[in-house]
Symmetry: C2
Subunit: 495 residues, 2 copies
């Protein structure tokens, strides 16, 4: 049997785990029993998996568990309830973030109460979660051709974790404000800039700087939202649905009767892919997801597999010929597997490399392994096998390759599908800016189903009992929504 101490020592969040009163006193097998009884999770198969599960418990403990089960419904995306009132290390960290507001020299600091300041998440340098903090920054003003947006909600993507680690191609300099998408209300326009009215409800792409109370971004990246769409939905919509649509219908050529394999079926892109596939007749979707998500998302895909199994064999059992489209956000060995699974004329699309993120900080080992050990492809082999391999990066398309016009057309098509109630973004959970670390940890652990949203107007986790009243409304429904079945209710999936 593993020594829990040994497990904890290996864990990057050792301090958090060891000092947690709930965890510290248990042996590994006791932890496993606890996991099973509390969450129905089977025994982890490795130390690493056990660590992940412990971290998940820590995130869930003290109210956060309730948060995952409360108030979610198709018409009103789930709002998290209070953080625990117990002073766990995690909440102490959050407190630390808030207290340090404005303390960094590299940030432009303005005194509290000044209308020329705003809150923003700052990444002070590439690295772990401790590089993130919320501070006050000078209010940006729109240049010619730009729209100034009072932000309501921001999307959090796996890519943001890679940015935090500096694990991307030509990263910008730090300090920076992360975030590539938001929704909000138009507050001003640059000189000679037309196309929007002050007060317009908009969804926008931003080349960094989205995680703030106010952003300015060029006109071409801003879209009027459908009337029925909420701000969290809009922030959950832009990157995931545009990427899913372009991959399925512009890079590949999804048509009736085809089959699609998607990794991370429970994630934001995965759920968008599943919904878009359901708009075409007789499309078979093979999805991979952690077992604990299966109950919640099983209706969104045709065949669902555990993410740890040998999916190549499982897919071949069902469809010996393979599949028409493989969407891979993992990279590494999955590239070769995906190509191998393609039917003739099938398309493999790499749209992320989340396998590069193996820990909290950048791992040169995993980076090198992913980058260099991705099987390079000989075009003549593609010729013999009639196969297609593609890469898709929406950010590069928008911000390096200037394809705003094409993306705008896609957004219009997607809004039309939304208005016809054929698609609807799945929001996993809402977080205050000050909770960005916990939100990142959740996406890192693949704990989410659908999209994580930073709700700019949400109060940070209450640190004192007196603050808890602000979010007590959600807490009231706690009991009604307890239990596994609630996961189903949280999924506003279009049948």
């Amino acid at each position: 049997m593993l020594s829990l101490k040994h497990v904890i020592e290996e864990c990057q969040y050792g301090r958090v785990v060891a000092s947690n009163p709930l965890i510290g006193q248990y042996t590994t097998s006791a932890i496993q029993d606890l996991l099973t009884s509390l969450f129905g999770i089977a025994s982890p198969s490795s130390k690493r998996e056990l660590i992940r599960l412990i971290l998940r418990i820590l995130n869930l403990e003290g109210g956060r568990k309730d948060q995952l089960q409360s108030r979610a419904s198709p018409s009103s995306p789930m709002k998290p309830t209070d953080m625990a009132k117990e002073g766990t290390e995690m909440t102490e960290e959050t407190e630390h973030m808030i207290e340090k507001n404005g303390a960094k020299e590299t940030e432009t600091v303005v005194s509290a109460g000044d209308a020329k300041e705003m809150r923003a998440v700052i990444l002070s340098g590439f690295g772990g979660l401790n590089k993130l903090r919320v501070t006050k920054k000078a209010m940006p003003e729109p240049q010619e051709g730009e729209v100034k947006i009072r932000v309501k909600a921001c999307g959090l993507n796996f890519l943001d974790l890679m940015v935090r680690q500096g694990n991307i191609d030509s990263p910008p300099k730090t300090p920076l404000v992360p975030g590539f998408e938001c929704s909000g209300i138009v507050e001003a326009m640059g000189e000679n800039t037309k196309g929007f009215e002050i007060g317009d409800r908009v969804m926008a792409f931003v080349n960094y700087n989205a995680w703030a109370e106010v952003v300015c971004t060029p006109l071409d990246y801003v879209y009027n939202m459908p009337d029925d769409m909420t701000f969290p939905e809009a922030a959950a919509f832009s990157m995931n649905f545009v990427a899913a649509y372009m991959m399925l219908f512009e890079v590949a050529n999804l048509r009736e009767g085809m089959s699609v394999l998607v990794h991370s079926a429970g994630g934001g892109v995965g759920q968008a892919v599943a919904q878009l596939c359901s708009t075409i007749p007789s499309v078979t979707v093979f999805g991979m997801a952690s077992s604990f998500k299966h109950e919640a998302i099983k209706d969104s895909v045709t065949h669902l597999f555990d993410r740890n199994i040998d999916y190549v064999q499982e897919v071949k059992k069902i469809s010996p010929e393979g599949v028409d489209i493989v969407l891979d956000c993992l990279s590494g060995e999955n590239t070769g597997k995906g190509l191998g699974l393609l039917r003739p004329l099938g398309t493999y699309i790499l749209y992320g490399s989340s396998n590069m993120v193996t820990g909290e900080t950048k791992s040169f080992f995993s980076l090198a392994k992913s980058w260099w050990q991705v099987e390079k492809v000989n075009p003549i082999k593609l010729y013999e096998e009639n196969k297609v391999i593609a890469g898709f990066s929406l950010l590069n398309l928008l911000f390096k390759q200037g394809r705003c016009g094409q993306v705008k057309t896609v957004v219009e098509k997607l809004f039309s599908l939304y208005n016809q109630k054929k698609i609807k973004p799945v929001v996993d959970s809402l977080w205050a800016l000050e909770e960005v670390k916990e939100a990142m940890q959740r996406i890192h652990d693949r704990g989410n189903i659908g999209k994580l949203i930073l709700d700019v107007e949400k109060s940070p986790t209450p640190l004192m009992a007196s603050d808890s009243t602000e979010t007590s409304e959600a807490g009231e429904e706690e009991e009604e929504h307890e239990g596994d079945n609630d996961n189903k209710e949280r999924m506003p999936f279009i049948q």
Copy 2:
């Protein structure tokens, strides 16, 4: 100055060239002058090119030149006129082929006049032109599920040269009858086989064995021809148009306003690509072709470049952003160039490796160069650049990967476009089975504009004066069609 003798010694067809009374007496510079005055061809830049030109003259001399310029019109594909009455070595070779009919032990020989025999082209082993001969073989009979077709016309593709050289993936055993496509009349059906009537005019794919008077092929590979389509058109249609259509519309996703680059714009696939692009509004086609074809095909593409120039630079001058689709039948260094030319979300498709064929026989050097030096592609680079790379092999799709159903749907769409007069196969020239060597040389030298057809009912080149009457009709128009301008008339290109 090169010594002609030296040139000739290097030539694989030395015997032919040296003994030719027309060529043997000239010096290299005199040959060059002759080329220029007769055909308007500029001085060759290398010994190898000079050899090619000399061979072309040999092929053209004594009537063959006229053949290339006579009788072609949109409604009646060109029929070649007589071969020369002069006893050149080339016609002696043809005579040799015919005399040797039935002399090979490996072939099933039946006595002349027997209804159970048929003529066929036989490849006795992989290698040069001398491995090809016409012989009589036992008449094939249809198995269950097969259709027996009395062949009228067969298509000749660059791929057939690669087959001849054994320059393909897992080549079959020799002796074999080459050829993958034909048109003709249904003569019988296998047991329990329905779907066609005896007498139906059909177009068919065959997994080898097309170059014969009779073929049997499975039902799934046979299609009823449109009423207005001639047999040579049908034989020119199947592979080229199906490949062009599937590449443009199923592998890539050709839409309004896009741009397409195609190598060998004057070839069968190239002309099919150009025509199919003209069915979509505002598609820009960049084509490469030998200069002497430019006058003939200039109206079929938007921008036409000489095949020997640096097309990357030329395309970028016109379209700095590059192109949306690159169709490459050459492979080798063109793969890297093609990928480099792609716009974001653009698709590079490799559909042949004709650069592998550098001489008459298989060259391991060129094979290795093409295969191993094709730049392998890192999927993560595709991700960063938003690019797509694909391979397309219609033969593998049909005969190894069993996608007959999908191809049938494509054939139906193409026949519809043909009936609407939006597309029309371009036939370069018709050849008797016994002229297959000359036809292959012509495609090897890239002398063709559109498709080379083996006309099964065409009499072989007349060897005696008395035979010439059979084809004198075409010869009568000789003078009317002389000169460069006739190339334009030969191009039944849809505007």
